[in-house]
Symmetry: C2
Subunit: 107 residues, 2 copies
DNA sequence: TAATCATATGATTTGCAATTCATATGAGCG
DNA sequence: CGCTCATATGAATTGCAAATCATATGATTA
């Protein structure tokens, strides 16, 4: 059972699917169908992952008719990733970054 | 396969065993035997986990005779956890923190 | 209000990674 | 050197959580 806040936090961000979602949503809000299509995810896969991200307040939801638009709460993600970048830059130059998160570079 | 730096980073910190090690080492360096005993870990379990943490430069190793002393590189961990604390404080007040990391409170 | 579209939810399966178990390496010491 | 202590390493196992599959809910429109 996950009972520690840190574990909860890190576990949520330790999966490629959720990182891809974060990366995509950084470009703007999307509803579930749009997101599923862009990432080639099953609809339920997208929903499950989005729910986890929303539960931990990494993304926000807004209902528009039948659709639900998910958007990124950048205030928490951006500073974290900036710290990691610094760490990686310092120690892990040799590691591959096959799917770099583009908005990392903007700042 | 883990290929993305962010995933590597978060996965490493997403396990209770590694968080317990980080917590313990925050109080000072220890060798493998001491750490295993304090955390009730099998020796090999401690070694495997310490290796992973060392590979990612979260901890440092120093040989002293047969023993190897592991110590925390606080420069990376502390700022990260501070950000998470702020996030948790804001959104997850209700979540339990059964094994709080003490040096979080000092700063 | 039936039909359809958009999304959520629950149960089952499955894949992977942490632990364990067994063994290897390597340092100090008599 | 042979022995023991400290740690590392590799292979096998196992537990868990993400993906999948099937179904439910809920909103819109005709």
């Amino acid at each position: 059972m996950i009972c520690n806040s840190y574990e909860r936090f890190f576990k949520t961000l330790a999966e490629p699917a959720k990182l891809e979602i974060i990366n995509l949503l950084s470009k703007g809000p999307l509803n579930v169908s749009q997101l599923s299509k862009k990432l080639n995810f099953e609809q339920s896969r997208a929903s499950h992952n989005l729910k986890a991200l929303a539960d931990r307040h990494f993304v926000l939801v807004e209902r528009k008719g039948k659709e639900r638009y998910y958007s990124l709460d950048k205030t928490i993600i951006a500073p974290i990733l900036r710290l990691i970048d610094a760490h990686v830059e310092k120690y892990e130059k040799h590691y591959c970054k096959c799917k770099g998160i583009p908005w990392r570079k903007k700042e």
